[in-house]
């Protein structure tokens, strides 16, 4: 990544390959945000002994996410779908190993959460006998996040939907979409949601979870499909196995404007915009989380 060392304009970080993919299991697709990659990978891992516990963002009351250690496919499916608000998944890293007794943990998180996890692995000061048990990290693309009440404002005030009625929230085609259990769909221009973003996101330059084993998101692939970066050998192995065994169907990523092109554009937009913010804060003498 090396954000402020010149090569930051590398949009995606290191990876071995990128594909478009989606889960074949209908149960997953019914609940998942996009191609159900995250849930499918975790379920495959749990069912085949590669993982014995995964940290996910479960749905709580009124769309408030709660981190959870899931140990069964059912629990993974329950937690599928994106919550556009902060869910401190990494806060469960230790419980997963201690009271849950897991030896092979899968972690899903936004790029920043993957960075935290990687720092914990590299510098496990407070992580006794833990980091060797992180078996797989799955990153989800992320442009920005919302505080809970920020998301609430967008959903309830801008879109006019009660949170209790929401079944799905999505961002796409320049809009923030809300789907209700009564079958309604409301949307608002993404631009209008900016005032409700988490400001700490504005110093973040990682769009595609550049340090994860696998990173995935919707951008760059058709509706219902996901773009998937295979970054490490571990990540590649599990995806390849899943494809071979029919858990995932894949197709080459569209190299054009609406595929890799847009993905690249968004990644670079995030980097440029937020690097400016970093520079600005530095000028003010404020701390930024980067060292030489």
């Amino acid at each position: 990544m090396d954000i402020n060392r010149g090569d930051y304009m590398d949009p995606f970080g290191k990876y071995n390959s990128i594909i478009s993919a989606r889960a074949t299991d209908k149960r997953i697709l019914k609940k998942s945000q996009d191609g159900g990659i995250v849930s499918a990978v975790f379920i495959y891992g749990l069912e085949n002994g590669l993982l014995d516990g995964v940290i996910v963002a479960d749905k709580g009351e009124k769309f408030k996410p709660v981190p959870k250690v899931a140990t069964t496919p059912e629990e993974v499916i329950e937690a599928a779908g994106t919550k556009y608000t902060v869910c401190p998944n990494i806060s469960l890293l230790k419980s997963a190993v201690r009271e849950y007794g897991c030896d092979r943990i899968g972690v899903v998180g936004t790029p920043c959460q993957i960075i935290s996890t990687k720092k914990a692995i590299k510098y496990p000061v407070g992580f006794r006998h833990l980091t060797d048990k992180i078996a797989l990290t799955v990153g989800i693309f992320c442009m920005e996040n919302f505080p809970y009440n920020g998301m609430k404002t967008v959903v309830e005030e801008l879109c006019g939907i009660r949170l209790e009625d929401v079944v799905k929230v999505d961002i796409g085609k320049g809009k923030f979409w809300v789907y209700t259990k009564w079958g309604e769909t409301k949307s608002v221009k993404l631009k209008e949601t900016h005032p409700y973003e988490q400001i700490a996101c504005h110093v973040c330059t990682d769009y595609t979870a550049e340090l994860a084993d696998i990173s995935t998101g919707s951008v760059g692939s058709p509706d219902g499909w996901s773009s998937v970066f295979l970054r490490t050998k571990k990540g590649e192995e599990i995806i390849n196995k899943m494809v071979d065994e029919g858990y995932l169907e894949t197709k080459p990523i569209d190299e054009g404007k609406f595929g890799l092109g847009i993905l690249k554009k968004l990644a670079l937009t995030k980097k440029e915009k937020n690097l400016k913010e970093i520079e600005y804060r530095k000028e003010l003498g404020l701390p930024v989380p980067i060292i030489e």
Partner: protein, 229 residues
């Protein structure tokens, strides 16, 4: 072979136990260094000159002997490592205030790094076995890049505590709510509320782990590389 001395001041021995919790690997570690002094594990009674001296525990300023040892380790160690919160940044000894029998006059404890110049200071109560091994290996290999966060801690004189998350992260518009501070805390003093850490001042023992672990305070270079696993 590189000579290593392990010296204990006012600590609890937990940092050494952490090192020994490398279990079967301990023998390999001991074989890769020349442990010239470690009162809890071996019989040498005099601290010799050593390439690396690791010190556990704070310095009791009201104890003549402890003050001498603090001076001695600086003189005798080429690289002086303040290992663990007590030695590096104060930790639980920040709460000491004396008055207890039978030594009512002993009440002032300072981190070793406040008393003599240390080369590296490692927070944690205790630091994990894996981290201690990483530090030893990095010192053996002269990997200053890996060690740079610890070199910084050795220079800083500020007190570490859970409040650092407030002042250095939340107040600075940097907290994105990952939760790694929560899982790192050895006393479970941190809860995530509305995506932000809430530190219980009842439970915080000023070990410095949460703020060390936060990627928004410091993101060492090595973390940002995708190693090929």
């Amino acid at each position: 072979m590189v000579t290593v001395a392990y010296v204990q001041l006012s600590g609890c021995c937990g940092c050494l136990i952490s090192l020994s919790d490398t279990y079967e690997k301990l023998i390999d570690i001991l074989n890769s260094i020349d442990l010239v002094y470690c009162q809890t594990l071996a019989d040498a009674r005099e601290i010799p000159n050593a390439d690396i001296i690791m010190v556990e525990g704070a310095v009791c300023l009201d104890d003549h002997h402890a003050m001498e040892v603090a001076k001695e380790v600086r003189e005798k160690g080429k690289i002086l490592v303040a290992l663990g919160a007590c030695s590096a940044i104060g930790g639980i000894t920040r709460f000491c205030k004396g008055g207890q029998m039978p030594k009512p006059v002993q009440g002032s404890f300072s981190a070793l790094s406040e008393v003599v110049k240390c080369d590296l200071a490692v927070p944690g109560c205790p630091p994990s076995p894996e981290l201690i091994v990483n530090v030893i290996i990095a010192v053996l290999n002269g990997d200053m890049e890996y060690l740079s966060p610890f070199a910084k801690y050795a220079e800083s004189t500020s007190t570490s505590c859970g409040c650092d998350l407030i002042t250095n992260v939340i107040n600075k518009s940097l907290c994105m709510g990952c939760g790694v501070c929560t899982s790192s805390c050895p006393t479970r003093a941190i809860e995530m509320i509305e995506g932000r850490p809430l530190v219980s001042s009842e439970l915080c023992i000023k070990c410095g782990v949460c703020s060390f672990q936060c990627p928004r305070i410091e993101l060492p270079k090595g973390v940002c590389q995708l190693d090929e696993e």
